[in-house]
Symmetry: C2
Subunit: 294 residues, 2 copies
């Protein structure tokens, strides 16, 4: 099987690299703190990013941000310059759409195929190989990557380069908005005299059912705001989505309110609480006390 170079073996990248190795791919992994790569079963540790990618047919990049990816991938000393022409780079980090397109252009200049493929499903999805993988790129290139994506989760081709990142933003917007919608609905029910835990229970299975109602809704009714996903990262996502919308001439009225709510939550000291703490901010605005069990 084709060799895989893996850049960034953190909370997400670590289990993903392990799963690729378990599926039979020879994996050479590089991580800034080497011990995280060294701990991975079946994976060869590379001393540098360039060494990890040099003989790989496919390179997976799972670093923490667009800046981190650019720093490791680009420039004359970057990993892309060390890749074999004809190989493919898959950036699975969540990065701005424009950053993905610029990376693709840099790759094209060296005859490297580029695919953006951010994921949803968290650490658990990475460990269990059940990630939702949103893939942007040339259809033939994406199709050829099927065996690489298979051990990681369910890959869907959503359009040309950058589209994976657009889908991820759509995902984050829906999650953030749904959290606020559930928070508002449960607060209204509670304030009116119903039991919010039972209301959540009643709504499961109906038209209002969602992963957010089940997971974040449970945190809300339990008052458990240990992250999960900290609210301070949520505002990065909603901010990126709104900036992109603005650049495309789009006004998204619900997303704007959602962004305000999360920004206020962070400004009021809730940045390290889970996303579901949108309810905490909503209570604060409405002067309804919160019992936090966290």
């Amino acid at each position: 099987m084709t060799g895989v170079g893996f850049l960034g073996t953190g909370i997400m990248g670590g289990p993903m690299a392990t799963r690729l190795a378990a599926a039979g791919f020879p994996v050479a992994a590089w991580n800034r703190s080497r011990e995280k790569a060294a701990a991975l079963e079946g994976v060869t540790v590379a001393p540098t990013a360039r060494a990890a990618v040099a003989r790989a047919g496919v390179v997976v990049c799972m670093l923490s941000s667009g800046e981190a990816c650019d720093a490791v991938l680009l420039g004359p000393d970057g990993a892309v310059a060390a890749m074999t022409p004809g190989a493919t780079l898959i950036v699975m980090s969540s990065i701005p759409v424009g950053t993905a397109r610029a990376q693709a252009a840099a790759c094209a200049a060296r005859d490297i195929s580029y695919v953006d493929a951010p994921v949803s499903g968290g650490e658990r999805g990475a460990k269990e190989g059940t990630l939702a993988i949103m893939v942007g790129g040339d259809a033939a290139v994406v199709a050829a990557l099927g065996p690489v994506f298979a051990p990681l989760g369910r890959a869907t081709h959503v359009g040309p380069v950058g589209s994976g990142q657009l889908a991820k933003l759509a995902n984050q917007l829906i999650v953030a908005s749904s959290i606020c919608a559930v928070a508002e609905a449960l607060l209204l029910a509670e304030r009116g005299g119903a039991d919010p835990a039972q209301v959540r229970e009643a709504l499961m299975g109906g038209f209002a059912d969602s992963t957010v109602l089940r997971q974040h809704g449970l945190r809300m009714v339990e008052g458990n705001f240990v992250p999960g996903g900290p609210a301070k990262y949520q505002i990065k996502d909603t901010g990126t989505a709104l900036a992109l919308a603005s650049s495309l001439g789009l006004t998204l009225p619900v997303a704007e309110q959602v962004d305000h709510l999360f920004r206020d939550l962070v400004a009021n000291g809730g940045g390290d609480l889970d996303h579901s703490a949108a309810l905490v901010e909503l209570r604060r605005r409405n002067a309804v006390p919160t019992k936090i069990n966290a």
Copy 2:
């Protein structure tokens, strides 16, 4: 088994009455247009609402609105006055919380137990007995109604009288807000260059997954806005929820934007389109043309 009086055998009530009869309850049904009740298998048609309820241990009311329920149930010539003391009235219509509480008080004066139990799941849920039933009332009364709810769907006791209606409002708020969230996210992805149908596909199974993404999202990407649930009814629900929120001193920022969006949709002629046509209004506001296949 205890006799059931059934008031209102329309799109929802008809199949519900049939299912109760099939489960072995003697059902006496009344409907304003008698032929709808007469068409139901296993159900006895009553000439008046009072005749339908006179010998029933349990009365189910599934009329179209709070006003319609009040008109049939209350007053010296109403159905409640004809019920046997000790019997139970279940109002399964979606009505204002205050209306439910007033009906409960009128029932208590005649030693009739009262439960509000609105439903979610639509015509299909009514036919298949898979409704989500949100039940408000005294715990002992609700517990005794288990066999009546069982053929209709999954009943959850959510609090005292009125709580069923609060849960239903929570349900409607979450559905309406989720529709707008999905519309905004898909529009952003499309405007950025991704394929919205594939984006929806990619998001299914992840944190953004929901019944709304699956059902209303499909309508959006197909441009199919035949209702389903017409937008003009959506604004009744969001309006009721916001009025209640206001009376409780609550500000719900997302719900307000959602209500505006649906009101604008109706004002711009989309009242008879499906709820998912929130996307049509969002496109209009942003001057993005809509292809409607409906």
